[in-house]
Point group: D2
Chain length 347, copies 4
């Protein structure tokens, strides 16, 4: 049994991780922590766990946790994980960080977009970006995994094949993304109130969202340039799911067939990426509750652009599910273990 | 492996059964049928099953299905299953019927509330009402299971202990129930359109809903009289879940302690029934995606009434989950098999 | 022009009042206050008012407001208005209080249910309960109006005719009410977050909601006893609207015709109460955005109970609309002025 | 009083028109028709009109209506209005058509995108495209108004100033639009069911939506080329509202100040267009229930693109409200008459 610890178990992502690990046949959850709920039984914070877990939220003690656990999941706001990661911790157990601290390789870019000091800069190089479909081999040998963001996973999986095979103009990429509200976390703020969000559609952090440089870095590895994109997130009145609509100018002469072949070869053996047939497009409801990312595309002959639609569940493939997938890879067990639930509809 | 067939696999309940059985370790789905989608691959009807199942909707042939399967699930509108059940079928395999045809023991009451002829009246006596927590021993030996309705399961589990232990006046029961929209099925009707349902609350079939006599019959088995209740269903703008608020006059002298002991003894060993602590009450979100029924109560000293709140997922414990639970009992495997997913929140 | 002041203009009820008064042909809004937004232009708090109003939220100064205004609306949490009302204020202008401070005539009951000291007890007797359909004549001459609660308006209008005409057993009343989330106000609390409320149904404050004694007092005026009821509020995942499902035992011999005549005579000349035809029942969507209360009923011969369904918009007839209606009565203008918008559907 | 007739009064747009005209001080609704509800009282189709209107849905008789009315509104699917418009009708009364039949000046483009024959081609030239802010002077003298589509109004108002003042590259425009479900009408189809739409986000008619050529034609009038755009509509789980996120490459050297000045001069005297301040962006909730279009923009220096956000209520400014605005212009009354309701929030 893999012994797991969770730091920050009471956010929506942490809670989803609790759910997935509770049903994972190879995992025993040893310790959970949550600064705001120390001493509280987990089912008092999340009543869906009533009579399911005896775990109590403890105070954070990363060294002790590293002694007792094989893997520590950190589901914390950015800037906090970088203080907890140390050589001592990494020498004893694997760390999978849900936050942004170890996702960007360029510290300047981190500082610019996040505006906080980085306390674990010495581990940035070592950290492996945990987008499993792209970095599986590196993940296997990693000690520290930077679990990707939700918008980023959805965007990178949609765009990487196009960039890799040189099918699009690299300076023409626009990602217009729509997210459910759980992506904003459980923070008690006016803008997250039911009546403020329900029956409303809005864009936010236009040209300023922190997932932008993360997408840019990852797709640039496949490209010829330092790719700069437009990324616009939108808040949609639903609990879960991300739909990304990506636009790019096709390189002259590229055909629908070229594009389909690119996607098929790129994701040939990937269980968690599903390509839709021509004329069918992903919707968030078809992936909800699962670790799948669905991808479909359309070429507009009139404008010479491709429109790619991708969809995932922000709390699963966009957070806790991908973390479990990373854990499975790290510990050499079947990557799908604990992640094979059929998407739930209508839910 | 238990070989299963599903007749009516493309309704919401049928689809949820597909989901549960797809992840059930002891089941192989052999055949599925759906009159409106003959020849269609299941993932074309429900795209969440994309790349998950190769099954194609077939034409209905219950005799052939009985030959090939160990259990047939019938997820059909009332009046149809009674035509499909026969001695020949029952002699070859178990039948679990989602509809109302075999739930009521009194044919007159069936005729009065459903207004259709019953074509399988000779099997009514034999059929076992599949509310697992009440009829487990009978279910074990049954050939034909009448899987209970969603409102009824939620109401009967809330009321039975009170009636059995004589804690309430039997003529004082009122059940005010609130359901998500998936309970109305996938029928394409004006009243089910998004804009007609969303941001609206309404009661329907007041004093006339067909689940009424089903509740009455089952709780009467525990009582001293033929219990007659008021039952009012409401349509709530959400996909899933039922919340039932039940009211009854307490018998003079009954204390909170009496009530709690009654519930605890009644559900002592029941995994799928969770009692909430005093002061905490069930909400549909805490059971969604699971087979649990949560029950809590409050005594109002001012009026001498008890208010019982019960919650379940109408498609799981109210339909497909209970059907799987019944199947597990029928085949002698652990009753929880395939049903241990932690409720999913926020979803 | 009636000069109006609003204390507490930035809650949902206050904002709805701003809307209604902005379109009222006889009103000029002179001053608005809001403790948390002093100095802020109203459209910065509510962007729907962009370019519509130049008003800025001021600090509270009730004496100054009384000098400048003909009517002051107080949209404050309970316990605050009682500190602001004084002989000096009432001698200069009318006061319409949205809160509970002057609704209950019995101070002991106020203390018991609200648990706060009352600082304006000397005005309790004078205050008129502003349910316009019941107290129109008293309202005309009042200085201080206690604008009723949302649940209470919906319940009292449904029950009063039955009690007045002696059609029901007075000790048999149960009100099961369902409210949209705006009823909880704009308070920034975990329980009001989108993901906590959306796709969920729950009961709250069971046998303990403060609107209970308010309903009891008002319907008791029509009855033979001190009526005690069960009242259970529920939170429904929608922005606006209340649906109340009321149950009572009919007095022996009472017929459907008796009941219909009672409602028709009681509401004969009432524009804002609409009775539905037999077999048709109110839904919140049909009254949204309007000052109407719709009422319909069904008699269940099996149990001898009547079920009454009533619906209103909690922010209009349940708060700001009724306040405007009260103001219209107070100032002798047509009661419907500013309140004739057709209910908006689908919205 | 302007005597009005409505053909197709029972769709969502027709119903909203009924609402607006019912509260319009200068209008008397003479006749309404609806093929599916002939002989039915309007409040039986839309219960929000209970006790508000005595009108009954009649059979369509356009000649008779033209005799009796000053203006006929046609709220019909495309292809139907072109059969009803005739010289005889236009010589007697004004016609405002909600459909697409007279919006496109190029019949080939109509045929290509709509795939139906046009039966009133002789009136295409005469028809005035009723986007009031662009064509006010022509509208004044028109007999036949082609009321614009909802997506188109939202997109054209956002883009026109940029094109007119030459601020963007004309071949770089992408409009990513998100609509509430009422835009799909009241058609009883599987894809419009609550459970299919709720908690889901999807794109549809990608690179194929019929509003595309309409946007292109109108903004091309301001440009130097035949502008071709990408337009992608999305279905959002809410009743009302459209949010359009438009992207374009800025012409080299264009500054934020240039852009703001362009918008301000273009919409200087337009009551129904509201520009948001820098850093603030439109949301659908702030325009709901009103005839406003809100517009805001952001320049991304990194990519050289402008992102424009525009929002309107699809049933008001996107349909019935704009129709009333057109009527007001046609009859020489204040353009705002009947359209000054403050947007309703939270609703």
């Amino acid at each position: 049994m893999i012994k797991a610890g969770i730091i920050g178990a009471t956010g929506y992502a942490g809670s989803q991780l609790m759910r997935l690990l509770s049903n994972h046949p190879n995992v025993e959850i040893k310790t959970i922590t949550a600064r705001s709920y120390i001493g509280k039984a987990y089912p008092e914070v999340y009543e869906n766990f009533r009579e399911i877990t005896p775990l109590v939220c403890e105070e954070e003690n990363v060294e002790k946790m590293a002694e007792e656990c094989d893997v520590i999941f950190m589901a914390l706001p950015h800037g906090l994980a970088s203080k907890l990661v140390s050589e001592s911790v990494l020498s004893k157990c694997k760390v999978i960080d849900f936050g942004a601290d170890f996702r960007l390789k360029d510290l300047d870019i981190y500082n610019k977009w996040y505006g906080v000091e980085h306390f674990g800069a010495e581990f940035i190089d070592e950290a492996v970006y945990g987008l499993c479909e792209l970095n599986r081999e590196k993940i296997k040998k990693a000690r520290l995994i930077a679990n990707p963001g939700c918008y980023t996973t959805c965007s990178i999986l949609a765009l990487s094949p196009l960039v890799k095979f040189g099918l699009i103009e690299e300076d023409s990429i626009i990602v217009d993304a729509k997210s459910g509200v759980s992506g904003a976390g459980r923070g008690v703020e006016l803008t997250n109130l039911f009546c403020e969000v329900n029956e409303n559609m809005k864009a936010y952090k236009i040209a300023a969202h922190r997932h932008t440089p993360e997408i840019e870095e990852q797709i640039s590895y496949f490209g010829k340039s330092n790719i700069i994109i437009n990324f616009t997130p939108h808040l949609t009145p639903m609990n879960r799911g991300i739909l990304a609509t990506s636009y790019a100018k096709l390189v002259k002469g590229v055909t629908e067939d070229d594009v389909r072949k690119a996607y098929m070869s790129f994701y040939e053996n990937e269980y968690f990426v599903r390509l839709t047939k021509a004329g069918t497009f992903p919707e968030t409801k078809w992936v909800k509750g699962s670790n799948f990312t669905d991808i479909g595309f359309k070429i507009d002959e009139r404008t010479g652009r491709i429109i790619v639609i991708s969809a995932l569940d922000n709390l699963i493939k966009g957070a806790a599910g991908q973390a479990v997938q990373n854990m499975n890879i790290l510990f050499g067990i079947d990557e799908k273990t604990g992640l094979t639930t059929v998407p739930d509809f209508p839910v």
